[in-house]
């Protein structure tokens, strides 16, 4: 079987790619997908440590993370549809109306 640190390293790399996606991409949908990637990395760490310590709590937490992520995606995509209706773009650089 595989040591814990391998799974952790994979999760860290996934999280890193997610961070780069959020910081670099300007399409708001891709930014959202990068967020999902970061959620996924966190879930992987939770499941890994649940296995490491033989406890169930980590896996239960993953359920709640999934549920909240689903709710967040529903609201976020609805917001994106509304922004697209008013601005005709979902480029996040266009959403700067509050900029002084």
């Amino acid at each position: 079987m595989v040591p814990v640190s391998y799974y952790l390293a994979l999760a860290v790399i996934m999280f890193f790619i997610g961070i780069v996606g959020v910081l670099v991409r300007r399409n708001a949908l891709i930014v959202f997908m990068s967020l999902e990637l970061m959620f996924n990395a966190a879930n992987l760490v939770l499941v890994t440590f649940a296995r490491q310590f033989g406890a169930m709590n980590g896996q239960i937490t993953v359920f709640f993370v999934m549920t909240v992520a689903a709710a967040e995606v529903a609201i976020g995509l609805a917001l994106m549809v509304v922004i697209f209706r008013t601005k005709h773009s979902i480029d996040i650089d266009q959403v700067n109306s509050l900029k002084g």
Binding site: M1, V2, P3, V4, S5, Y6, Y7, L8, A9, V12, I13, M14, F15, F16, I17, G18, I19, V20, G21, L23, V24, R26, N27, L29, I30, F32, M33, S34, E36, L37, N40, N43, L44, V47, T48, R51, G54, M56, N57, Q59, I60, V62, F63, F64, M66, T67, V68, A70, A71, E72, V73, A74, I75, L77, A78, V81, V82, F84, I90, D91
Partner: protein, 180 residues
């Protein structure tokens, strides 16, 4: 080489490759499809970690429901090719620099310095994280968070409907005869 390590490396290559594909791809539809593959590969990792129920939930909820929602919105908005040129090159360089620093920091602290056992994971007991055990834990110790979760989902449904509603129906003044 051991089969467990071999399987892990294969899946890890798929996970990292699809993540990078999601990040680099110009077309948002391709990004979404890469992400579906990524979620499925992570589900395989969950199975190797002894979490079959989480793996199935991952496939149905993430790869099934959430990504289908993404694809619907991409196609509805026609927003698959919104950014053609990469402006702000300096900002990108700075962002990637800081992300790499963060990556190195996490690697140093969480993996090299943490003193985690480098031996392989032991086999769990045979009924570890079976669906029935997960159900028992979820509905005994975590009953209140479970109920709160259902409330969160309800609020999300209502919020999505209210936000995307196009027109607000105009209320007509009610004419009451005999009032004047």
């Amino acid at each position: 080489m051991e089969t467990g390590i071999l399987l892990f490396s294969l899946v890890a290559v798929i996970v990292i490759g699809t993540s990078l594909g999601m990040l680099i791809s110009r077309n948002a539809v391709y990004s979404a499809l890469f992400l579906v593959l990524n979620f499925s590969a992570v589900a395989v990792l969950y199975i190797t970690l002894g979490a079959p129920f989480i793996a199935m939930a991952q496939v149905t909820v993430y790869a099934g429901a959430i990504m289908v929602l993404f694809l619907f919105v991409i196609m509805q908005l026609g927003a698959e090719r919104l950014e053609d040129e990469w402006k702000n090159r300096r900002q990108h360089m700075l962002a990637i620099l800081f992300a790499v620093i963060f990556l190195g920091e996490i690697f140093w602290l969480a993996i090299l310095q943490s003193g985690l056992p480098t031996t392989a994971l032991i086999m769990p007991p045979s009924d570890y994280a079976s669906p029935s055990q997960i159900g028992m834990t979820l509905f005994s110790n975590y009953l209140l968070p479970f109920e709160i979760t259902s409330f969160i989902l309800l609020v999300a449904i209502i919020g999505a409907v209210v936000l995307t509603r196009t027109e607000i129906p105009v209320k007509k003044p009610v004419v009451r005869p005999g009032k004047e």
